[in-house]
Subunit: 175 residues, 2 copies
Amino acid sequence: MKPVLEPEIASSSANSSPQNFHALEVESIDLFVRIAQFIGFPKSYGEIYGLLFTASQPLSLDDITLRLNMSKGSASQGLKALRGVHAVKITYVPGDRRDRFELEGNIRLLMQGFVQERLEPGIRDLGMRIDSLSLKVNELQNGEKKRYNDRLGKLRNWHKQAQKIMPAVERLLGG
Amino acid sequence: MKPVLEPEIASSSANSSPQNFHALEVESIDLFVRIAQFIGFPKSYGEIYGLLFTASQPLSLDDITLRLNMSKGSASQGLKALRGVHAVKITYVPGDRRDRFELEGNIRLLMQGFVQERLEPGIRDLGMRIDSLSLKVNELQNGEKKRYNDRLGKLRNWHKQAQKIMPAVERLLGG
DNA sequence: TATTTTGTTCAAAAAATATTGAACAAAATA
DNA sequence: TATTTTGTTCAATATTTTTTGAACAAAATA
């Protein structure tokens, strides 16, 4: 079965890149590549997301590799990761054996996934490290101990506030 | 003039790494290396910050390169960047020709710098791109236009909320 | 002024990260 | 069952980012 591609939109400004992209698609992909890099994802993830953002129907792995001129391996891994943060889902399309991919309805799911799977674990890990450091500092002699504790106190405080703000971030970005 | 190094802390658990680090220093540097990576800085920046965190007095460029076994170039660049986000400052020490570096008193300045110089500009840039995309979408035919605008609307909404939360993030992490 | 000390810059090297592509497994079809 | 289609994995390759180190400039000292 042949890949399902977007119908070319008739327009005098139609872009004629090697992949036959519409100018709008290019700009959309570009936007999501930046978002990806912003949150620390490889740019291929952003390309995939951007392509799906513009697509009028769920795309197959083939569509994606063809359109983006990307290896099957990359596309597979990227889709896996995007599914992992609930940014993309697999859709069943009757009469097609292949998986078809499309965006989760809500953009917020991308951000929610990011917050829950990267931001929060990161903050939690830092907390554990700060605690461990605090314990060791308590075994020092008085002078040293005071100096360390002054600085550690500020760090703990910062961390506590970072934790405190997390639910709000999640609620706003995810609401 | 010879480099100013930390006096070795007498302790049965004193670490004997090649650089003669105390276990506490190692853990502190490790912690800040993670924080650096977390916010997208090279790990050398974290090493420098971590070393300064444990230091009982301002350190010179020499101290830092010697202690961390890092090139002069790296140390210079790292310190420049850390000064750029107000995480580190230069202190004048009478009788020493060299610059001496120490942490800005408040940890929060590190985060404030990060928020102001990375997070906010990033969000702003995304906003401009989303606006540009919106303009182009308005030139499409009705069917296409609707489909795009549905998705773009969600994106705009997400972006608006990200902007809204920014001051709170800044206030909390920086207060 | 000549020499030394100190810090910066940037091209080249090293390290880290992302991408490819071929081998593989699983599922559908013939 | 044999063949084809589809998607995954991972070692090798390519790309990007970081680090080095030597050349340089500026400032202090002799």
